[in-house]
């Protein structure tokens, strides 16, 4: 990026808010500033999502009301800094100013790997950028290189998100220690080696994912490692909370003028409440992350309080509505984040991916990311084949409207919803891929082919 992400005075003003805002007890934050405020806003703006028969809503007025409710939440509550126990308050004018200067397009990567990500609108045909990878799934050291190569070899994969190492040089990784530095460098060096071996040396990458502390980011976004044009990460905690660690990451991205994506996972069944509350928190989160962390791209991967997945049926319309609200009212570059419940080898995984892409791509997202397979909690339980499938589903969705997607999504949800209780985590990468050819096993490929045929019967040609 040639232009600075933010002027120094504005960034200092944000850090000052974390130091000098009113003291708030964290319980008060959760119960009053989040739970009660969201509940009141749902009533005030008459927000309703049909969770009995979830699909893809097409009510523009409702989407706009979600945006208004989110702006109210952002202004009334702001952000909570967990380290200082301070409320970071923003005026409506401040937030409107932040939103007004969001560009209609952003750029990642360099040279032949450069990608310009242009604003999309609800129901608008248009190219979606793909960010395929492990998205932090833990892998053993010996699998990191071949797995990364397999993801990088997907031609339509525009950028690659790394996995997390379980060990580094055979040793356990202790957070907030020098191991963070060693492990994150190993992760990124291996990733760069993999993309080079895959014939894409300049490919944009998103990492590191191994470190639990800010050290991982600060130590790798530097000379000879992660480049300013890569896809950095910094986040809020649920709900609308920020830590010093994340402010450190954000500050480092600002100072190095690096591209960063900001993410936030509202919890369904937590203080945000149900589907409507998650939609409001999702939109408020994007606005407040732009104001606080100064990212260029944003995703929310709401999490079911018990199952973690964001393909839980009521979350499908909630996320679609949130993205519609953002797409209709801002230029914010939005990414979906695919976190299905099922794992590699399972048909349900593919139904979940397809339903999620249809609901969010038609809602106007600019970037489709994933797949954090089997909710990302099971070692090596992810494979590039579901990314290939995601790309096909997203490409099909690019040409559809919400109304066209709605009936198909409803049928897909019906196919997977009961199975979510069974936690079908599927198989490990080395069980569904040939480690020499880096191609899927015939069994896993045939499951995908079968589902592609099933989708065609449902009216979706991918």
């Amino acid at each position: 990026m040639n232009e600075p992400k933010v002027q120094t005075d504005e960034f200092l003003n944000i850090l000052d808010k974390a130091e000098n805002g009113p003291m708030v007890d964290i319980n008060d934050w959760d119960q009053t500033y989040i739970y009660q405020t969201i509940k009141d806003l749902i009533n005030k703006y008459d927000l309703k999502i049909d969770i009995q028969d979830p699909g893809v809503p097409s009510d523009d007025d409702m989407a706009d009301r979600v945006f208004q409710a989110a702006m109210d939440l952002a202004v009334q509550s702001g952000v909570y800094c967990t380290d200082t126990q301070r409320q970071m308050i923003f005026t409506r004018e401040e937030l409107e100013k932040v939103l007004a200067r969001v560009p209609e397009e952003v750029q990642i990567g360099e040279g032949s790997e450069k990608r310009v990500i242009k604003k999309r609108m609800v129901d608008q045909e248009g190219h979606v950028t793909i960010g395929g990878g492990f998205w932090g799934v833990v892998v053993p050291e010996d699998l990191l290189l071949p797995m990364t190569m397999a993801y990088a070899q997907i031609e339509e994969n525009d950028f690659l998100c790394t996995g997390a190492l379980r060990t580094t040089y055979g040793r356990p990784i202790r957070a907030f220690s020098p191991w963070d530095t060693l492990a994150c460098w190993q992760e990124m060096r291996t990733t760069f080696e993999a993309v080079e071996r895959a014939g894409r040396p300049g490919m944009t990458v998103s990492g590191p994912n191994t470190s639990a502390s800010a050290i991982g980011t600060v130590t790798t976004v530097t000379h000879g490692c992660v480049r300013p044009s890569d896809y950095g990460s910094v986040a809020f905690m649920s709900e609308l909370k920020v830590s010093y660690d994340d402010l450190i990451r954000a500050c480092h991205y600002v100072q190095t003028n690096s591209f960063a994506h900001n993410f936030y996972n509202p919890i369904y069944g937590g203080y945000a409440g149900g589907a409507e509350g998650v939609a409001v928190a999702h939109v408020a989160g994007f606005i407040l992350m732009k104001a606080t962390l100064f990212g260029e791209a944003f995703n929310a991967g709401p999490s079911h309080a018990h199952m973690s997945t964001n393909t839980f049926p009521p979350l499908i319309p909630a996320q679609s509505l949130a993205h519609q609200a953002l797409s209709r009212n801002t230029n914010i570059t939005c990414a979906n984040f695919t976190r299905p419940n099922a794992g590699p080898g399972e048909k349900d995984l593919l139904y979940e991916i397809a339903a999620y892409q249809l609901a969010t791509v038609t809602a106007g997202v600019e970037i489709a990311t994933g797949v954090q397979t089997a909710t990302g909690r099971h070692e090596a339980h992810c494979s590039p084949l579901e990314v290939r499938f995601l790309i096909r589903a997203a490409r099909a969705a690019e040409k559809m409207t919400r109304a066209e997607a709605d009936p198909i999504v409803k049928k897909l949800i019906a196919l997977y919803k009961d199975g979510q209780k069974e936690n079908k985590i599927g198989k490990r990468f080395d069980e569904v891929y040939d480690l020499e050819s880096l191609e899927p096993t015939p069994e896993w490929q045939s499951v995908v082919d079968e589902v592609v045929d099933e989708l065609e019967d449902l009216g979706l040609k991918i």
Partner: protein
């Protein structure tokens, strides 16, 4: 710099996590105090109190053996894990031998080279000049760095520290450290550019904080790999996760890593003989633990802080001779006088240290942490200029000649150390527009130069 022995780095971190558990008090009393006392006897480490630059090669070699034994048998104590980090004889020898004997820092026309020297070897020493982390008001930081960088005899510049960043308090382990890192590097790099030396190597980062500040400062738009990056031990031979993280970061980024320790005179090492052993063991272990490309021990008097105390001169001289005669480690002297800018005594202290260090074989001089570095703004480039002149004039001197000169200089300042005048603030000792010394300070400097000439130094 190519640094790719990741397995060794992992093995060091593993030592910090899996070594024997030891209570810190036991470390201090047994592994340092009692052990050093035994080693002094075993290797007969003693010298005449009136000698400041000993010329006894056998003593220097015995000192090296004592330092090696301390390094081998006690190792390093990791404060975060309470573990003792131990190396085998082979491991330790291998890592000591793997250090560079020549190092290029900085870039382009402003490159500087550090080369290994031996006692009495008539070869050029490298001069580092700066405020060594002494605090300076944020608004004066740039001017001070520029004033040092303008000194033609200074090869590498070491900035002061800033107490604030953009007027705000720098809270440790917070985003303010990242802001401070960038603020310091922005100001320092702009200052060396104004001085016409944009590729000059800069000591980074000088502002104190946690590991975050060094990590954030060694990145895009900030300090470069060719700058001089710091990480250190805590006295005696203790290391923290923060310092191990700094070391890992410098190693992974291929940055120049400077490592230092400050053995305490009057602490668990005991007196001057113990400090001498600490000044040998420390650099050996700095190389093994933090993978320093350069090492230095800057001992500190328990109450006075300075390292120019007469008892500490011979201890340091012998340790330099010991390391120089037995390893190829790039080692330097850190000059921390008791007096401050504007006084004659600071110049006597600096000159004594330069004579002692250069004749004992140091490869570089770190000049000058004036008034022990604890008085905001009390440092100036004049004392570094004097250091450089004396150092270069000493390159051809033997240890005995140096000892005669040092003896005369010590007589001029030693009685005054306990009541040392901390001198003047930079804004009072320098003209902030021309960045030249105020006439009074310039006059004092010239007077002392004449005195040194009269003593027989060829300036």
């Amino acid at each position: 710099m190519k640094k790719d022995n990741f397995e060794y780095l992992a093995s060091v971190l593993e030592k910090a996590d899996t070594g024997p558990v030891i209570e810190e008090k036991e470390w201090d009393y047994q592994y340092i105090g009692a052990k050093v006392k035994d080693l002094i006897k075993k290797y007969d480490i003693s010298w005449d109190a009136d000698t400041y630059v000993p010329s006894d090669d056998d003593l220097a070699d015995r000192l090296y053996q004592a330092g090696w034994e301390l390094a081998l048998e006690s190792g390093v104590y990791c404060r975060n894990t309470k573990k003792q980090m131990l190396w085998t004889q082979d491991e330790l020898q291998k890592v000591i031998d793997s250090g560079p004997s020549e190092l290029v820092v900085g870039t382009g026309d402003d490159e500087a080279v550090l080369r290994q020297r031996r006692p009495e070897q008539p070869s050029r020493v490298t001069i580092l000049g700066g405020a060594y982390g002494t605090l300076i008001e944020e608004e004066l930081f740039g001017a001070m760095v520029e004033a040092y960088a303008k000194e033609p005899l200074i090869d590498i510049v070491e900035p002061p520290s800033i107490p604030t960043a953009f007027g705000r308090t720098i809270r440790i382990q917070s985003p303010w450290e990242v802001m401070a890192a960038r603020r310091e590097s922005d100001l320092a790099l702009a200052a060396i550019a104004r001085a016409g030396r944009p590729g000059m190597c800069v000591g980074a980062a000088a502002t104190s904080g946690s590991e975050i500040i060094e990590l954030a400062a060694t990145s895009y738009n900030a300090y470069r790999q060719t700058d001089w990056h710091h990480t250190s031990f805590i006295s005696e031979n203790k290391v923290s996760y923060a310092d191990l993280t700094r070391a890992a970061h410098f190693y992974m980024t291929g940055s120049v890593a400077h490592t230092f320790c400050d053995p305490i005179y009057g602490g668990f090492l005991g007196g001057k003989e113990g400090v001498a052993i600490g000044c040998v063991a420390g650099p050996i272990l700095l190389r093994a633990t933090l993978l320093g490309d350069t090492v230095n021990a800057g001992p500190s008097h328990a109450h006075l802080s300075c390292d120019t105390h007469p008892d500490l001169l011979a201890a340091q001289a012998l340790s330099f001779q010991a390391i120089s005669r037995n390893t190829k480690l790039l080692k330097g002297i850190h000059i921390r006088p008791a007096h401050g800018p504007g006084t004659k005594e600071i110049l006597y202290e600096v000159a004594a240290m330069a004579l002692m260090g250069v004749s004992s074989g140091v490869d570089y001089l770190k000049s000058v942490q004036a008034a022990c570095g604890v008085n905001m703004g009390h440092t100036s480039p004049v004392e570094a200029r004097l250091c450089a002149r004396v150092a270069h004039a000493s390159e051809a001197l033997g240890r005995e000649e140096a000892n005669d000169l040092v003896t005369q200089l010590v007589n001029k300042y030693q009685e005054l150390i306990p009541t040392a005048d901390t001198g003047k603030h930079f804004r009072d000792s320098y003209n902030l527009e021309t960045l030249e010394p105020a006439p009074a300070w310039q006059g004092t400097y010239e007077e002392v130069i004449e005195e040194l000439k009269e003593l027989g130094l060829n300036l």
